[in-house]
Point group: C2
Chain length 583, copies 2
C-alpha cells in the first residue's frame, strides 16, 4: 500500500499512526537479531517500516535482501531507501526491480551522504546527481507503482543551510512526482511547525512525516533537564521519553497525523515514547489484525487469506516453502492445494541455533518424561521456544493450558493447539481479528506426538466421539484419518458486516503431509544436536521413527473439553525409564 | 447420480428409499400442473423420479422437455424412459443427447408396447428390436455416463408368459450393461420374492426395484376386502393404502431396499402409502436438504452452491436466467458474478396466470392500503402467492410474521425476508440443512418497496444502526447503498464437521441490479392485468415508477428486532386515499 494512502486513512480514522526506520546491521547475526526485533516491534503497530540504503559494497545488497524478508516473511509494509551516492543507472534499476519483486511499493529517494573521503558531493559520470533526478527516473520507469518519498530539512542539511534554497529543491522533488516527505530528525517543535507553514506556502500539499529520534543528541535547552541524571542511563531514558513524547504531542496538536521514528535498531526507547503517548496496544486498545495470522506483503501474496494451521508457530518456513506458488489458496481450496510445498533443505526451514545452544535450551533428555518436562516448561512459559515453536505460547492457550500440561505429563507431546471460540467479538483482546462489529470462531485443535499403541486405543474410542476428526501420520508417510473428505476443514472463521465468511485457517490432508516432513525433520534435527551414541539422540530418534504425528479437530466449536476427554487415561508406557543404548 | 449408487447408499444408510414414476400429460395445462405436483411430491423425499416415454408424435419431444425441466428447474434426479417402439437410430440418439445435455444420467431402456394397430411387435427396418440392443447402443455410445435400467417381469408380460424365456432376456440385458431392474407392477409379494430368487440364481446381482402401484387393478383375494366399500372411493383408498403398505413392508422385510411407485401422476394415493409406512417427512424426521435452497441437477450445474437471496421465492426464473452460465459462483464469487443474467422476455420469467385469474387472486386495489391488505393476507397464509412469490410463506417466517404484517399495514410492502438464525442444529426441522452435526446461521434479511421520502428518512437513521447494510434501487436503476463493498455479503451459512464453511445465500450489488429488472417487471405485469385507465393500473404503475426496491441486512445475526426498530414509525402517506385518474 502507498504511504500517502496509509497517511490519508490515518487522517480519517484519527487512530495513532507511526512508522519505524531501521538500518542494515554489519553482521549476519546482527541481521537475524534485527529481523526478530522488527517482528516484535511490529506488535507495537507501525503503519510501515523503512530500511535505509547501505551505500557502497555488500550493504546495498543487504538493503534489498532485508526488504524482501520484511515484506514476504515478516509481513511488514516496507519502504526502501535509495540514494544517488555511488550508484549508476544499472545499480539503481537493479535495486528498484528487486523492490518491485519483493512486493514493495514505497521508495524513499535520497541524494545520500557523500562518501567519507569526499567533503562535498558530485555525482559520478552518468549517475544521478540530485534526488529529483532519481524521483523522475522512478516515476518514468514504474509509473504509479511506487509511492515516492523525499527528504525534508526543517533545520537545514549539512552542506546547505539556506532554507529557501532547500525549499526550492523540495518543490522540485515534489513536482517530479514525490508522494510524501520524511524530515530529518529534530527536537524543536516550534521551528518544525513554522517550517511546515513555509512548505505549505509553496503549494506543497503532500503529507509531511516528522522524523522523531527517541533519544540521541539533544537540544541545549533539554540538556539542563538531563544534567542532574546524565550518568544514569535509565534516568536519562525516563526523562528523555517524556521530552520526546511532549514533542510528539505538540506535533499532533498542530495537524501532524503520522510520526516517523528513527529507531536506531533499538526497541526500548521507541516503546517508552509510545507508552507515554498511550499508543502501545493493550487489552482496551488491541492491535488490529486483518487475519488471525500475520499476512505476507510479498509480491503476488497480498490476497492470500487462508493457511493450514500446522505452521501456526512456524510462519517463516510456511512462507519460504510456498514462495513459488503462483496463486495462493483462497475461499475454495480445491485447486490451489496442488502446488507443491518447497523442499525442506531451503535456508531457514530446519532447526535454528547451534547444537550447544539447543542442548542448553531444551536439556539432555534421557527418558520420555524428561522431554515431557521440557514441553511442560514451555506451556508454563518458562521456555520461549520448542523445536516446533519459534515463539512463546500464545495467550489464547490459557483456557486449555492445564489440560495440555496434563497430557504432556502423561507423555503425549503436544506441539500445536488452539482453543474453541464460539463467536467472540472481532475486537476481543485475545481472540479478535478482522473488521469491527464481527464475530470470530474457532474449532478446538490439538496436534501431538503419540506412540502407535496409544493411537490404536484412541481410534477405538472414535465411535463415541462423532464430532472429532483426526489425521495421523508416521515419518515415512503412513496416513490414517476419519475425515469425511481430503478437503479442507475450516478451523478458524469470522463473520463480518457486509462480507462473505472469512476462513483463514484450515486443516486438510495435502498440507498435513507437507507439514509432516517438516515436523519430523525438526525432531531429527533436534536429535542431531546430540552426539551419536548418546541416550538423548537415541531417545528422540526413536520417537521420530516410531511415533505418529496426530492432529485432532473438535468440530463442535462450542466447547473445549471433548478432545481432552477423548484422550483421558492414555499414557505412554515406561515414561520415566531412561533409554538404553544398544551396542 | 446413478440409480445403482443411490440404491447402494440406501442399503448402507437403512433410510427409506423410493422413487416416483410420471407420464407425459396430454395437454399444456396438464404439463404445468404436473410440474407443480412433481415439485410438491418432491417434498415427500423420492430418491429419483422417472418419466415414461411418450411413444410416437410430439409426446416423445415432451418426455425430453420434461426431463430438462425436472432436472434443471425443479432439481429432481430424473431417469428418462426410452423405448424401441417406432424409434429409428436417429431419434434414439437425439433423445439420448437431450438427456445428456439436461444433466440426466439414468435411462430406463425398454422394448415398449406395440403400437395399438399391431397385435405383436416387430421392429421397423433398421430399428432396435429388443431392449438389449438399446442397452448395448447406449453403453457403446456413452460409456459409463448413463446408468441403464431394464424391465423385469415377475408376473410375465403381455406377449410372453414364459418365465424362463423372460429370465433369459433379462440376463441378456444385464450382460449388455444394465445397472438396475425396475419391475412391472404387482400385488403378489410372495410370487415376487420367489421370482427375485430365480433372478439371483441366474447370477444377476444388480438392484431390483419393485414397481408399486398405490391402487389400481387389484388381485382377487384383495377384492373381498374391498367389496363392502367398493362404491365408496374414500374407503377404497383407505383400505387400499393399508394393503399396499403391507405389500411394501413384506418386500422390505425380504431384502428389498428401494420401492418404485407408479404414481399415475397422482399425489394422494402414493402419499397415503408413504404415511402408512411412516416415511413422509415430519418434524421428527425432516427431509434432508443439502443446501437451504433446492439445487438444480442441470448439466454442469451440480456444483452450484451459492445463489443471491433475491430469487428465494422465484427459483425457476433464477435457473432460467442463469442457464447459459458456463460456471456457477462458488465460494469466492468475484469472478463468477460476471456472466450476464438472462433476458426478462424468456419464457417463464414474467407473471404467470391470466389477467382475470390474477385480478381474482390479488384483488383490484384502489389505494395503497388495498395492496397492503393483499400482502397481509399472504403473510397470514390466506393467499398462496404474490406477484413476487411463487409459493406460500415459509414456516421460518413465523417468528417475524407480526412485524412483517405491521410493516405492510403501514404501506411498506415486503416482498422477501428471512429471520436471524444463530447456530441452529443442522437437523433443525425448520431452519436445518446440510450434513449432520452441523450448525446453520442466517442474518435477518428484509426486502420491501418504499416511497422515496421514506427511504430518505430511513437513510438518515443509519448512523444509529451500525450493523445494518442496505441497497435501494429505482426501476430506472438509481442505486444507493451503505455496503462496505460491492462484493457478496453471506446471509446464510453453515458450519459442518470436517468441511469448509458453506455459504449458500448472499446479497450483493450485481445480482441485485439483475433482480431489480425482474422485480419491477413483475409489478408492471401485475399493473397490466388491469385495463388502461383503471385506478388499479394507475396505482400499481405509479408505485413501480416512483418507489424504491430496498433490501436490508442485519449483520448481527444474533437478533431479529433491529431491522424493525430501524423502520419504526415509517408510514406511507395517504394510505387509504384512493388513486384518482388524471385525464
Amino acid at each position: 500500500m502507498h504511504i500517502k494512502s496509509l497517511v490519508a486513512e490515518t487522517e480519517k480514522s484519527k487512530a495513532p499512526s507511526f512508522s519505524f526506520e531501521y538500518f542494515p546491521p554489519k553482521t549476519a547475526q546482527g541481521v537475524q537479531n534485527l529481523y526478530d526485533r522488527m517482528d516484535r516491534m511490529n506488535n507495537f503497530g507501525p503503519k510501515f517500516i523503512d530500511i535505509t540504503w547501505g551505500a557502497g559494497g555488500g550493504i546495498a545488497e543487504l538493503t534489498c535482501e532485508m526488504v524482501v524478508q520484511a515484506q514476504a516473511v515478516y509481513g511488514l509494509e516496507t519502504c526502501m531507501h535509495l540514494t544517488c551516492t555511488d550508484m549508476g543507472l544499472e545499480k539503481v534499476n537493479d535495486a528498484l526491480q528487486k523492490a518491485y519483486k519483493a512486493g514493495c511499493t514505497n521508495i524513499l529517494a535520497l541524494r545520500g551522504d557523500p562518501p567519507r573521503d569526499q567533503e562535498s558531493w558530485t555525482a559520478a559520470d552518468g549517475n544521478f546527481q540530485y534526488a529529483r533526478d532519481l524521483v523522475k527516473h522512478i516515476r518514468d520507469t514504474y509509473g504509479d507503482h511506487f509511492d515516492i518519498g523525499v527528504a525534508g530539512y526543517p533545520e537545514g542539511c549539512d552542506d546547505n543551510k539556506d532554507e529557501e534554497s532547500l525549499l526550492d529543491h523540495l518543490k522540485e522533488k515534489v513536482d517530479m512526482g514525490a508522494g510524501f516527505i520524511v524530515t530529518q530528525m529534530f527536537y524543536d517543535a516550534d521551528n518544525f511547525i513554522r517550517w511546515v507553514g513555509k512548505v505549505r506556502e509553496r503549494g506543497i500539499t503532500i503529507p509531511i512525516l516528522p522524523g522523531i529520534m527517541p533519544i540521541a543528541t539533544v537540544p541545549p535547552d533539554w540538556m539542563a533537564k538531563l544534567e542532574p541524571v546524565k550518568n544514569d542511563d535509565v534516568a536519562v531514558r525516563e526523562i528523555g521519553k517524556t521530552l520526546v513524547a511532549e514533542l510528539c504531542k505538540k506535533l499532533l496538536a498542530n495537524g501532524i497525523h503520522h510520526l516517523h521514528f528513527y529507531t536506531m535498531n533499538l526497541a526500548q526507547a521507541t516503546r517508552m515514547v509510545l507508552d507515554e503517548l498511550n499508543w502501545t496496544p493493550s487489552a482496551e486498545n488491541p492491535l488490529k489484525q486483518a487475519l488471525p495470522w500475520k499476512q505476507s506483503k510479498g509480491f503476488g501474496r497480498r490476497d492470500e487469506d487462508v493457511r493450514p494451521i500446522f505452521w501456526r508457530n512456524r510462519n517463516k518456513s510456511y512462507v519460504i516453502r510456498t514462495q513459488d506458488w503462483d496463486e495462493f489458496p483462497n475461499g475454495r481450496w480445491g485447486d490451489s492445494r496442488s502446488p507443491a510445498f518447497g523442499e525442506l533443505d531451503a535456508y531457514g526451514i530446519g532447526l535454528t541455533g547451534t547444537n550447544e545452544q539447543n542442548r542448553k535450551k531444551w536439556g539432555e533428555p534421557a527418558s520420555i518424561q524428561d522431554i515431557a518436562n521440557t514441553f511442560v516448561q514451555y506451556l508454563e512459559k518458562k521456555l520461549e521456544t520448542l523445536p516446533w515453536s519459534e515463539s512463546g505460547l500464545a495467550a489464547e492457550a490459557d483456557p486449555i493450558k492445564d489440560d495440555l500440561v496434563a497430557l504432556n505429563k502423561r507423555g503425549l507431546l503436544t506441539i500445536n493447539s488452539q482453543p474453541a471460540v464460539d463467536g467472540a467479538k472481532s475486537n476481543h483482546p485475545v481472540h479478535g481479528w478482522g473488521p469491527s462489529n464481527g464475530y470470530v470462531y474457532q474449532k478446538a485443535y490439538l496436534e501431538l506426538l503419540m506412540p502407535p499403541y496409544l493411537l490404536e486405543e484412541m481410534i477405538s474410542r472414535l465411535d463415541d466421539f462423532p464430532n472429532l476428526t483426526y489425521y495421523a501420520v508416521t515419518k515415512n508417510g503412513q496416513l490414517k484419518s476419519n475425515a469425511p473428505s481430503d478437503g479442507p476443514n475450516a478451523v478458524t472463521w469470522g463473520v463480518f458486516p457486509g462480507k462473505e465468511i472469512v476462513q483463514p485457517t484450515i486443516v486438510e490432508s495435502v498440507s498435513f503431509l507437507a507439514w509432516r516432513d517438516e515436523a519430523f525433520r525438526l525432531g531429527v534435527d533436534w536429535a542431531h544436536c546430540f552426539d551419536a551414541n548418546t541416550p538423548s539422540r537415541a531417545l528422540i530418534e526413536g520417537i521420530m521413527n516410531e511415533w505418529y504425528l496426530v492432529n485432532i479437530v473438535n468440530n463442535d466449536f462450542r466447547e473445549n473439553s471433548t478432545i481432552f476427554g477423548f484422550l483421558e487415561g492414555l499414557e505412554v508406557k515406561d515414561l520415566a525409564v531412561p533409554v538404553t543404548l544398544t551396542a
